[in-house]
Symmetry: C2
Subunit: 462 residues, 2 copies
């Protein structure tokens, strides 16, 4: 049963499993104690720290273990902001950071700080110049992920790090998605990562803070992990995390090349096999194992359920798959289609046959979902009797219905005239302009609708 | 090799090990995902929550899993204080809480709140009336452990809960040391515990918050664990924690009675076998597996090292064994001797023979340490030529030297006259009065010493 959601959590690597088992017997005692069981635990902890630091590219005393990648981000961002309080209270982040970074930013804003989001282009990458321009003398910290968790696009970390250095601003890099694939480019001041993303166990994050970076841990602490991660160390999991990071890295070049080719196959074949699909993210500067595409006229939740029935586990940034019923902030920031969104992230060892079977199954699954929703046929359009300036009332209907209704009637208005879609579904704000972009129609804009919700105006130009 | 430090961390229970292994294969995926691996993880998480809630005595939706007991305490105290901000900013804690509670209190004080410590008696228990009297209309939260981690004394939780209820103040109970031995008495509002204390794995704490208790989680969060514990769930460890709690509880009555008898043996035999020993903590209202005693004229660090050499792993609250070179705050609050302090906490399954061997080895170990330090012989005293009002300069000497010097000369002054000990070691403040109590001498008081440090004045009355 192929599991294609490694970007959420990778199955445990065999080395992680072995190391975990071995250290359940050797590493359960308190490493702060001086008796033999404590000394043994301390040796394991020290060795794990050295191995992890080597993989990260830092000194062992710059690295602490946290209970998760999320906690590493929260601790790192809060500590760096507090350490630089005298410099100012501005936090600069890319618009496509992981939610843990954005939530840390929200907490900063709630405490009176300011947060500036640097936009990204359609590929999902920030422009280093724009990022540099957002830094000023009041900026306490900048955050940029090494690679995006939803679309796989690599960020220009080295260039942004240079801009940060020039501005005297420390750079926090969330390396959760990339650390298993190789070291982060030089220039970061703080770095966070998460073991279960590379095949290590849950319960372990890494936080590295370069010597010389001002850092003031927030909240209550204790004597463990340099005062940066309170609570009894999760030692067997830490040992397993470090061992598996080393193992995964040793395999990264070969396995990365193999998965990169499989992802290239998906990127090329999906638009050939499935009509009305947008493959998003940078095709070249990207993670080796991850690809995301969106299918017009399809709702993500049904699509995921159908793929699950076929044996494929994938995730989605569509609004209908989120608890808040809003589309992924990453897709929104990129300005790409969010409906029928599918993220495929291949774990190490994925069989080529499974990818081929996915490609064989996908077209039928998408077609059947579209069929049930009454989506327009791929080569639709060409209207019978043109009406002028149609209004489509899709109030109370969820994604992808508003876009389906728009597509169904666009051929009914003459070129030059407009279709206005009334919708109170948040995804429409992203997906109607994205549909226009894909279809070569003109997105005029939105205005409040007198009937409630928003009126999205589209001019037929094609 | 007998390990007698279960109160720091218990070896992994076989059931925890089994459950951990099983859920490494079944529980590595994200329980928030809807595909089969995610659904399987969700089932495991829900079942673990139900099992843990049953053991705690709460509803499953009142309980969240945190990365450690310390994090459960930090989250619980901060969330309860913030939830009751309108009531006031006073936090009331017992003076002998675990450091995680006291550090949470320090963070509260640093943010402008006030913290009141309720003192304890010589047994280590608070007086419920005194605790109730400390509560007022500005009190946001009260904290009381279920049982003390250093001396094993059970606190009067039910009585204090009644006082809190009468005052309208929520009660936070740190149940880390007792939860494996049985449920906490009724009446608590919030409860925290730590899996590795009962034989579960590291990396799992519990936080229960009763419905109706005002609670506002602090810091950045996410959608996991009701917004109270951000970060990817450490699922295999959570499953192992819940399974082992259930297993440990099933064995608690029989094993508790067995260990209680072994501890009673230690409590009775140590003072018979070793001269100048004080066994501390309540002899009856106590944890079944834990006993603490202090040996005059001995430094804890050497004692621990010698016991380790004999194969026994124990811990100590003596100043020389702490990173800060101050005696345990628990022993200080109780006003008992801290020098030569030994905590014995027996893990489940401890063999009777190991306890007997400990009792056989201890007298020789203590005697050899005393010998090396030049401690007075047990039946010492009776001086040759009395001098009057001696001054002993122990400046720059660490525990237990100041007390050893005092004991060496007390017989040199006539009854009614004084010995003044000059010392700049923090432990002397606790241990000189404690020595007077044990020896029936009068502790007059302390004053600044003109030579630096403090002058402790003792009058010979015996």
């Amino acid at each position: 049963m192929p599991y294609f959601d490694a970007a959420s959590a990778a199955p445990l690597h065999p080395v992680a499993r072995q190391a975990l088992l071995a250290s359940l017997d050797e590493g359960w005692a308190d490493p702060a104690r001086l008796y033999r069981e404590g000394r043994r635990a301390r040796l394991l902890l020290d060795a794990a720290r050295e191995a992890a630091a080597e993989a990260v590219g830092c000194r062992p005393d710059e690295l602490v273990f946290t209970p998760s990648g999320t906690r590493a981000v929260h601790t790192g961002v809060a500590g760096a902001l507090a350490g630089r309080r005298r410099a100012g209270d501005r936090l600069v982040v890319s618009a496509v950071e992981h939610s843990s970074v954005l939530y840390a930013g929200e907490a900063h804003a709630a405490a009176g700080g300011t947060v500036t989001e640097v936009p990204v282009g359609r590929s999902g990458a920030v422009d280093p110049e724009a990022f540099g321009a957002a830094l000023d003398s009041r900026t306490a910290l900048a955050c940029l992920q090494s690679a995006n968790h939803e679309v796989g696009t690599e960020q220009p970390v080295a260039e942004v790090a240079a801009a940060c250095r020039a501005a005297g601003v420390p750079l926090f890099v969330d390396a959760a998605q990339s650390l298993g694939w190789g070291p982060v480019p030089e220039g970061w001041s703080l770095l966070a990562a998460s073991a279960h993303k590379w095949g290590g166990p849950a319960g372990v994050g890494l936080l590295a803070v370069r010597k010389g970076v001002r850092f003031a841990p927030q909240g209550p602490s204790d004597e463990r992990e340099s005062g940066r991660a309170p609570g009894f160390e999760n030692l067997p999991a830490i040992v397993a995390a470090a061992a598996s990071l080393r193992a995964v890295r040793a395999e990264a070049a070969a396995e990365g090349a193999r998965l990169r080719a499989l992802v290239d196959r998906i990127r090329a074949r999906v638009p050939e096999l499935v009509p009305d699909v947008e493959v998003v993210g940078d095709p070249v500067r990207r993670l080796p194992h991850l690809v995301t595409f969106s299918c017009l006229y399809v709702d993500g939740e049904t699509l995921l359920a159908e793929l699950d029935r076929e044996g494929f586990s994938v995730s989605s940034g569509s609004s209908c798959t989120s608890a808040t019923l809003t589309p992924s902030h990453v897709l929104r920031a990129m300005g790409v289609l969010s409906e029928g969104n599918v993220r495929v992230s291949l774990p190490a060892g994925t069989a080529e046959e499974d990818v081929d079977r996915f490609l064989a199954v996908l077209p039928g699954v998408v077609a059947s979902v579209r069929d049930r929703l009454g989506a327009p046929a791929p080569a639709a359009a060409a209207a019978a009797e043109p009406a002028r300036s149609l209004v489509v009332d899709a109030l109370g209907r969820r994604c992808p219905i508003p876009v389906i209704e728009l597509a169904r009637v666009i051929g009914d208005v003459p070129v030059g005239d407009t279709v206005t879609v009334l919708s109170d579904d948040g995804a429409a704000r992203l997906d109607i302009p994205a549909w226009c972009e894909m279809r070569g129609q003109e997105y005029v804009g939105e205005e409040p609708s007198p009937k409630g919700g928003t009126a999205y105006v589209v001019r037929r130009v094609a």
